[in-house]
Structure formats: structure tokens, C-alpha cells
């Protein structure tokens, strides 16, 4: 079994949002829906520094589904629509099975990485965007990062990684000690989000 995940170099991330935009376009995300967002850790307002002048601080974190080893969402899904793929470790969402109960949304400690289509998805573009092989978005369905499953099927990296302007994002198999990501995680200091929740996220922020 593989364990696919991300390593994101915080020093190289400048919060440009190209990852979020690449994800949005590639996955034909409806208006107002973002599966990946870049958040700043600093002051109260967007993109602002915290601390004091001379010792100000701001770091960016590109955040989406953490594709956890021990995903809280999977445990609570009453119909098995949310599941962890046995061979890849990718946390997946079966739109056709989803009954829209949003238990997964409540259970996931990473607030906001899921979206729920309350209405028929809308697109200002008026045309279907993104890759031809992504599933259509459905009303009353919970959605989230698929790790660009359709791209992985073609041997491509997730859109966010392929689009990272700062080359801060690395994708790969954390179970393969020879992979670039494993080497980074083995040699660099890192942070993970909410490790105390026991979800064992597969996203490493290299610091």
C-alpha cells in the first residue's frame, strides 16, 4: 500500500494562490467553491503580519484535505461514501453514494476543506471547465480534494503541485523511502496541522 501525501516548503510558499487556482480550474469547481486555499498565519487580517515591527511574522499554509491515515470523516460516514482507498491511501468521496448528511464535514477537524453543494452548482463561465475526466458536481453532495485522482490515473501530479509557482509543493508516496517526499520529510523539520486530533495527516509543512 502506498501513502500519498504532500510536503510543502513554507519558506518557498509566498501565498500566491496559484495552487488554489489550479485546483479550481482543473476540477471545474462551482462558483464560490475552493477545495484548496492558502491561509496566512500572522495578523488578524488576510495577508497581514503578526507580532511587532522588527519581529513581525507571517507564513502561508496551503490547505486542503489532509488525506489522513486515520481520517475522522471516514469513520462517521453512514453510507460509505467517504472511504480511504486501500492501495493509495487517498481519502475519496463517492458522489453517487453521498446522501448529503454532512457528518464528514462535522467530523473533520480541518474546517473548510470540504464544500457542500446546497443548490445546483453554478458557473459564471457558462461552460463546463476543467479536465474532461473529472466527475460532474452534484447538488446536495459533499466534495473535497480528490488528490486529482483523474490526473494520478494518467501518471500526472495533482494540479496544485504542478502549478506551484514557488516550487514549494512536493507530492509522492510517503511509504517509499526513495521518493523525494520521503527524503524531504526525513531530513527537514516539519509541522503538521492538528496532530493532537489523531488523524495522522499526510501533509507535511517543511519549516
Amino acid at each position: 500500500m502506498a501513502r500519498y501525501g504532500f510536503a510543502i516548503d513554507v519558506e518557498l510558499c509566498m501565498g500566491c494562490n496559484a495552487c488554489a487556482m489550479a485546483c479550481k480550474v482543473e476540477n471545474n469547481l462551482p462558483d464560490g467553491v475552493w477545495w484548496r486555499r492558502v491561509v496566512s498565519d500572522g495578523g488578524v487580517g488576510p495577508d497581514t503580519f503578526g507580532g511587532t515591527f522588527g519581529n513581525a511574522y507571517k507564513d502561508y499554509y496551503s490547505v486542503a484535505c489532509q488525506h489522513c491515515e486515520n481520517p475522522a470523516c471516514v469513520k462517521v460516514c453512514p453510507v460509505g461514501a467517504t472511504y480511504k482507498d486501500a492501495e493509495t491511501g487517498v481519502v475519496r468521496q463517492d458522489y453517487d453514494k453521498c446522501i448529503g448528511c454532512r457528518m464528514c464535514v462535522s467530523a473533520c477537524p480541518y474546517t473548510g476543506v470540504r464544500s457542500f453543494n446546497w443548490e445546483e452548482p453554478e458557473y459564471f463561465t457558462g461552460v463546463r471547465m476543467g479536465a474532461a475526466d473529472v466527475p460532474d458536481h452534484q447538488k446536495h453532495t459533499v466534495e473535497k480534494c480528490t488528490l486529482c485522482w483523474h490526473r494520478l490515473a494518467k501518471g500526472e501530479k495533482p494540479a496544485c503541485v504542478a502549478g506551484c509557482v514557488g516550487y514549494a509543493m512536493t507530492f509522492g508516496d510517503l511509504n517509499d523511502p526513495e521518493s523525494e517526499i520521503s527524503k524531504l520529510v526525513a531530513t527537514r523539520s516539519y509541522k503538521q496541522l492538528l496532530p493532537e486530533m489523531g488523524t495522522e495527516p499526510n501533509v507535511y509543512f517543511l519549516v
Binding site: 488554489a20 489550479a22 495578523g43 459564471f124 511509504n175
Partner: protein, 818 residues
């Protein structure tokens, strides 16, 4: 941070950033990788995608190559180019939006005329046909040109329209018709100042930045907010630093690149000149200058006649000037009157270049005149800037100045300039002082790590084609209001009656907006051609919808690297949008110069690229179409190999004629203080403690790049608005506290010129007493007013640059309705 509020709700940063764990590499367990079959795709596409390659066309940006997917006649996706593009650039968030503008809710669709009887700005429009639109322009402009002269049509074009086919054809037409150009007066000062040392080519001392940065021992970043303004370069700085290069960031504010640099020098806003000259003083005092380079490339040994203030010439020694080659411009023989050096072997003044041991320093009596080497003149001036004397004014410690000076001298050192420090009324001196520092330390010669500006302005296309029908006059945007109101320019009658805006953000972007709308409203007829409904459109009488980026073929020459690029037409123009080049042909026909624009687009490009620089490298239209991005090489050091273009043909520490190469607008302000032969620290006109303005309005107002806009391009994008929904003023927490302002409040910012209301957030990175606003927002996105109403439009007679940062404001909580 970005917290778009869509249907999905916002991520709450605190919810997970509050508790993060730090660990050092966990041991990974080896298991087999899954077979790709594991990822069986969920959907089988029903149609075949067409894949195009094309480049962004934002003016002044990197023009990154992208892969663009077209399905059933519509652009449906943008991806990073999978081909080997220049330095692995990938599109930024704006680049994804760029190809999608055809779908913008604010995209123009049809030619529209202001409804008769309504006022400008009422936004009441009537759809008309293209035939009616062309007839209207030709009638209104034609009438004005006949009655008041061709200059009576005012024409504005900037980086919003700089495609080689469309933009340059329109540019050529306007020149041919003799309209009056609006000179945008942005980012001028740095180059004009540097030209005092290097000649006319300083803006081109920029070569293959991404290669040089890794070869530099030190990189000095002068007011460049790289992580936001140059996202494609940020990672190179970080990676170079990881490889041993030291980054030194000079910026009043603690920007992200400042925070991540080896050293950050929080210079007082507007005091960079004093800092640079102080570094120069320390370098010379410590003997850290590159004497070999100074001797070979500068006019430092040339003598200055103390009585006249001019360079001493052989004619002053009684040697008759001789005739040189005929000047191609004047047709007359040039006069050869060599400069003079002091030869320490013969103890005499001799023709420059002939001394056995030329003196770099010293004062000498020559033919009864007291003469000093130009280098010594500089050194004497520098004594006014000893670190211990200026440290307090500069806002740094003596040790900090010493360290920065040593970094400049310990090459290879690369200087990377943003425009911030030159955005004061002393911007020319900033460029001038910086060039002197680079000349003193040999930064101009070093093979690795050279003095650099950030843009190539003079794209080497064949400009003789552009100007084949004549070259029209231009007037600064800072002065044009006076010309419109007085009907005169430099004492000559100069009536202006009509305005044509094409890719210039005049209304919304130009300084002192209340003044801009005032003078625009004095004109009889205003036309805007644009792709989206911009501020310019709002204040126009006629709007002409141009085809979007994906809807037409275009070529571009990138201003930030050395490439010519091609973007094919990928979809049909929506509604009735027309490619600008087609509009140009219709206008040309209407104004009787249609024959001059009968070339096909391919023929135009072939003509523009007929310069030997391209032909010698096998760069043809066919090749560009096939390869999309074609790099071209210039000399490894263009300016130096072609020789310095100063009067002495050397780098000059002493400027004999300060009026040389300056812009002579606003001559009434041309006072003695601008006639200095050596750089000095002229204080900012407004944004400096003690000025009358600052006593009333004690906060310095600076701009930063909006991260998700390029100029105002993309203001209308629903996606970009999710990421950056409204203009936000960032303020220092102490300044906010003093005024009772809290994060998320709306506040009014005001001065004598105008006011605006924006949301505020505190930002600890800001120098106390400084606020910053993001450039690129549309006027209609403000709660009230616009930040451009605050900025000064003072027209400095020397550099004629908009001093956006030389602006003071005060702020108070907005008590109006939400």
C-alpha cells in the same frame, strides 16, 4: 491569508494553526508503490480536447507560457506549460484568469454609446453597430482635427495593450495621425537618475536575471516586495540564498522577502538616497572601491574646471578642436575636443587616455584654473554623508550602514531594484546615487551578479516601422490637465478636445483622481476601447469592445526576459468583440491612411522583427508560431560592449549638464536645486517629517501590488475577487490603536486632494507611520472614493514621475453605513 466566503464557508485559520507540532523527519516505512491501475479514472471524456500553448500578455510581467485547453470551441482550462519554458515559470493565479476573461460578467459585448441627455458617469448606455461606432469616432475626431489640429485628439496607451500586432499597430496609427500622447509618468525616475551615470542605456543593464542571481555572493534588494510583486523571482532568491548567496533587503517595511533575507535594513521611508551615499562614503573611506574598474570604465580621472563647473577639455589648454565623423542626425561633422587628465609621471595635464599614470584623485592647477578630478569631486560630496552623521536621519545604525556597504563592495553583488524607493519626489536622486554605488563597486562589470533594473524597456523591434509616419508629441499625465484647461503647452496654442483611451488605466489608476475626472469632463468626446467594463468606460461617451486574449492571435516581446512569444487564436470572439488590429484598420481607412495599414498581421510581425538581432539568430514568424516562446540572446553585457552612452563615453561620477536627458515639462518649477552636478539628498516633497502636508496628515501612504490583480487587469474576475474581494488598507498596529481603529473596521483616509473609505487591517510589518494599499482595484470596489484620489500629481520638472509614495494622509473610523 485568503478566506473566500463562498458557499463552502471560510477556513478558520486559528482552528488548526493554533496547534501545530514540530518534529524532525519521521522514519518512513517502505512498502510497494501501487500500480497506476489503482487510479482508474471515474469519467471517460466524450470529446477530444484541443491543446494550445500561449503566453500571458500582461504588460510589464513575465508573460509565462501556459497550456490552454479548448473544448467544443471554448477555452475550458489553463495549466502550466508542460514544455521546457523559460526558467520553469508557471502561471500565477492571475494567469489562470487571463484566458477566462471571455466569460467575465464585466466583459464588454457590443459597441455602446452614452445615452443622449445623460451625464458621464451615469452609466446609461445604448447599443450601436460597429459601423455607427466607427463613423462616430471618425466624425468627432475628424472634426476636432480639422478645426483645432491633429494634436487635439489626446491618446492614452499603456501596458494594457502592448501586443505586437494590436497594440503596436494602434500606437503607430496614433503617431501617424499626430495625436497628443499621454505620457503615463510612472516608473521613470529610477532610470532617468541612473542615466546620469551610465548614459541612456541604464534601463537595459539587466541580463538573464535568473542565471545571475545564483552566481552572486550578495544580492541587494532595493524596495522590491518580491513575494508579491515578482512571484516568479521569489523562489530564485530563496534558493540562491540556500546555496550561499546572501540577501540584503532594504525596505522600510518588514516584507516577506525582508523577513527571509540574511539582513533587513528598515530604512526610513524616502531616505534611501542618504543611505546609498553613506555606503559610498564608507566604501571610499575604507578603500573598498573597485579602482581597476573605475580607472577603466569611468570618467573619474577627468578633470573638472572649478571655475566653469565643466569637464576640462583640450581646447581649454589651447588645442584646437578637430572635426570628427559626420553626425547622422545633424548631417554635420562632430567636434572632437578631448577631455583632460592629470599625468602623475609628467606632472601635467594631458589628453584623456594618453596619461602614463592618470591621477584619480587630486586638485591641480591647469592654465591658471583650479581643476579637480571628477572622482575627487564625488569623494568630497560624499563627506556630507558619513554614516555617523546620517544614521539617525536614515533610521539605521552606523553598523548597519557599514554592513550594507561591505555587501555592496564584496562582489559579485547584484542589485535588484523595485520602484518603491523611487516613488518619491527625489526618485531621480535615488537612481543616480544607486548607479554611483554600482559604478564605484564595479557591479556594472562583474560577469556574475551585475547591477540590474528589473525590466527591459527597449524591446529591440524595428521602431522605424512604428514611426514611419511620424512621431507624435507626448505630454505627461501630470501636466495634461493644465494643458486641457489652458489650451496651451509650453507657450504654444494646444487645444485638446477628444480623448481616446486604449489600455491605459487613466481613470482609476492615475494620481490625484479628482483632478483627473475634472479635466476629462472638460473634453468634448471620450472613447475607450477595452475588454472589460473599466473605470475608463464609466467616464466615456463611447465604448468599443476589444477581443479577449483567447479570441485573437497575438505576439509579444516580454519586458522581463528576452523572449518573443506567440499566442494563437483559440476561440471566436464573443458577442461583437473585435480584435484591436481590425479596429485600427477601420480607423486608418476613415482617417485616410488605410494604405499604411494594409499589411497582414504576419507581414506586420515580420517587419517588426526585421532587426538583425532577430534575423541573425534565425528568429522568424514561422518559428515563433511553431515554438510559441522563442528566447533571444543579447550580448553578455549589452551596455558595456556597446560603450557607455554618456557624453564622455564613460561612467560619470560628475554630471556636467544636469539638464541632459531630463524631461523639460513643468519648466516653471526648474529651480537651482535641480542643477546640482553631484547627487545629494533632497528630502521628499511631502512625505517627510516637518513638511506642511505632514503636519496636517502624519501618515505616509504607500502602494503595494495587489496580489491577485495585474495593474487593474482582473478586477472583474469572480475568481480573483474570491481571493481578494475588496481594497484593504494595511496599517501599523500602533497607528491603529492611536486612532481607535480595529481589524476589519472601515476607515476614511483623507488629505487635501481627496478621500476614500476602505477596510483596514493591522499589519505589524509596516513601518510606524506608514499605511499600504493594493494597487489594481477598480474605483467601484471602494466603499467610497478611491486611493488614487489621495496621491500627488505634482509634476517634478526633472524626472516627470508620479511620486505615488510622496503622499501623506490622515485616517479616522468610518461612521457611514456598512
Amino acid at each position: 491569508m485568503t478566506e473566500p466566503q463562498g458557499k463552502a464557508g471560510g477556513i478558520t485559520r486559528r482552528s488548526f494553526l493554533a496547534s501545530t507540532a514540530v518534529g524532525l523527519g519521521a522514519t518512513a516505512i517502505a512498502l510497494n508503490s501501487p500500480n497506476m491501475q489503482a487510479f482508474a479514472s471515474d469519467v471517460v471524456p466524450m470529446t477530444e480536447d484541443e491543446v494550445y500553448y500561449g503566453r500571458c500578455m500582461f504588460g510589464g510581467c513575465f508573460n509565462c507560457e501556459r497550456e490552454i485547453i479548448v473544448r467544443e470551441g471554448h477555452v475550458v482550462a489553463t495549466r502550466p506549460s508542460t514544455r521546457d519554458t523559460a526558467f520553469g515559470r508557471r502561471p500565477c493565479a492571475r494567469g489562470y484568469n487571463h484566458t477566462m476573461q471571455s466569460y467575465s460578467p464585466m466583459a464588454l459585448q457590443y459597441p455602446m454609446k452614452r445615452v443622449e441627455g445623460t451625464a458621464r458617469g451615469d452609466e446609461q448606455w445604448e447599443r450601436i453597430s460597429w459601423d455607427e461606432a466607427f463613423a462616430l469616432v471618425i466624425d468627432k475626431f475628424g472634426t476636432a482635427m480639422r478645426e483645432y489640429g491633429n494634436q487635439s485628439v489626446l491618446y492614452g496607451q499603456q501596458s494594457g495593450t502592448y501586443g505586437l500586432i494590436s497594440g503596436y499597430q494602434m500606437y503607430r496609427l496614433a503617431h501617424m495621425l499626430g495625436w497628443t500622447f499621454i505620457e503615463a509618468s510612472v516608473d521613470n525616475a529610477l532610470g532617468v537618475g541612473q542615466n546620469r551615470v551610465t548614459g541612456s542605456g541604464s534601463a537595459n543593464v539587466m541580463y538573464h536575471w535568473e542565471e545571475q542571481v545564483y552566481n552572486s555572493k550578495n544580492v541587494i534588494l532595493w524596495s522590491t516586495n518580491t513575494s508579491e510583486a515578482y512571484v516568479q523571482r521569489y523562489r530564485h532568491l530563496i534558493m540562491a540564498q540556500r546555496g550561499g548567496t546572501k540577501l540584503h533587503c532594504v525596505d522600510p517595511n518588514e516584507t516577506m522577502i525582508a523577513q527571509r533575507s540574511h539582513r533587513w535594513y528598515p530604512v526610513r521611508p524616502g531616505a534611501d538616497i542618504a543611505l546609498i551615499l553613506s555606503c559610498c562614503q564608507y566604501i571610499v573611506e575604507q578603500g573598498l572601491q573597485d579602482t581597476e574598474f573605475i580607472m577603466s570604465d569611468s570618467a573619474g580621472t577627468y578633470l573638472i574646471n572649478g571655475e566653469t563647473g565643466n569637464y576640462l577639455r583640450m581646447s581649454d589648454l589651447g588645442v584646437e578642436p578637430t572635426e570628427g565623423p559626420v553626425d547622422a542626425m545633424t548631417g554635420q561633422p562632430t567636434v572632437v575636443d578631448p577631455y583632460v587628465e592629470w599625468d602623475r609621471v609628467t606632472e601635467s595635464a594631458v589628453e584623456a587616455g594618453t596619461a602614463e599614470d592618470p591621477a584619480l584623485e587630486g586638485a591641480y592647477e591647469v592654465e591658471g584654473a583650479s581643476c579637480t578630478t571628477s572622482y575627487s569631486m564625488l569623494v568630497e560630496r560624499l563627506q556630507q554623508f558619513k554614516p555617523e552623521d546620517v544614521a539617525e536621519e536614515v533610521g539605521l545604525s552606523v553598523d548597519q550602514i557599514h554592513e550594507l556597504a561591505r555587501a555592496a563592495a564584496d562582489g559579485p553583488t547584484m542589485h535588484f531594484f523595485g520602484y518603491g524607493a523611487a516613488c518619491y519626489d527625489n526618485g531621480l536622486e535615488m537612481g543616480w546615487a544607486a548607479a554611483i554605488l554600482m559604478a564605484l563597486t564595479g557591479a556594472y562589470r562583474q560577469e556574475a551578479g551585475r547591477g540590474t533594473n528589473n525590466q527591459v524597456y527597449a524591446v529591440p523591434i524595428d521602431w522605424s516601422y512604428i514611426f514611419s509616419g511620424g512621431m507624435a508629441p507626448s505630454i505627461s499625465v501630470l501636466d495634461i490637465g493644465n494643458v486641457i484647461e489652458s489650451g496651451t503647452f509650453k507657450g504654444e496654442p494646444w487645444p485638446i478636445k477628444c480623448l481616446f483611451l486604449c489600455g491605459i488605466n487613466l481613470i482609476g489608476g492615475a494620481a490625484n483622481q479628482n483632478r483627473v475626472t475634472e479635466f476629462v469632463n472638460k473634453l468634448d468626446f471620450v472613447v475607450t476601447t477595452a475588454i472589460t467594463y473599466t473605470d475608463n468606460c464609466v467616464w466615456s461617451d463611447l465604448i468599443l469592445p476589444a477581443a479577449m486574449h483567447a479570441e485573437r492571435e497575438e505576439y509579444a516581446a516580454s519586458p522581463l526576459d528576452f523572449t518573443i512569444s506567440y499566442t494563437p487564436k483559440m476561440m471566436e470572439p464573443g458577442f461583437e468583440r473585435l480584435p484591436l488590429q481590425d479596429m485600427v484598420r477601420a480607423f486608418a481607412d476613415g482617417f485616410g491612411v488605410g494604405d499604411e495599414f494594409s499589411r497582414s498581421d504576419d507581414e506586420v510581425i515580420a517587419r517588426l522583427l526585421s532587426d538583425s538581432l532577430f534575423t541573425s539568430q534565425g528568429i522568424t514568424v514561422e518559428r515563433i508560431k511553431e515554438e510559441v516562446t522563442v528566447p533571444y540572446r543579447t550580448g553578455t553585457f549589452w551596455v558595456r560592449t556597446e560603450g557607455w552612452t554618456t557624453p564622455t563615453k564613460k561612467l560619470e561620477f560628475y554630471c556636467e549638464d544636469p539638464t541632459r536627458s531630463i524631461r523639460m515639462e513643468n519648466e516653471s518649477e526648474m529651480t537651482e536645486e535641480y542643477m546640482d552636478h553631484l547627487p545629494s539628498f533632497r528630502k521628499p516633497r511631502e512625505a517627510w517629517e516637518g513638511t506642511e502636508a505632514m503636519q496636517k496628515y502624519p501618515i505616509i501612504c504607500q502602494s503595494v501590488r495587489a496580489k491577485h490583480r495585474w495593474h487593474n487587469d482582473g478586477y472583474d474576475s469572480p475568481w480573483l475577487k474570491d481571493l481578494e474581494p475588496e481594497p484593504v488598507m494595511r496599517i501599523n498596529p500602533d497607528d491603529a490603536r492611536e486612532r481607535g481603529l480595529a481589524d476589519g473596521d472601515y476607515a476614511e483616509f483623507y488629505n487635501d486632494r481627496g478621500s476614500c473609505v476602505m477596510r483596514v487591517y493591522t499589519d505589524a510589518a509596516l513601518h510606524p507611520g506608514v499605511v499600504t494599499y493594493p494597487k489594481g482595484m477598480d474605483r467601484r470596489q471602494f466603499k467610497r472614493g478611491t486611493y488614487s484620489a489621495l496621491t500627488s500629481s505634482y509634476c517634478n520638472p526633472v524626472h516627470v514621475n508620479t511620486s505615488f509614495f510622496d503622499t501623506c494622509v490622515e485616517m479616522r473610523k468610518w461612521e457611514g453605513e456598512e
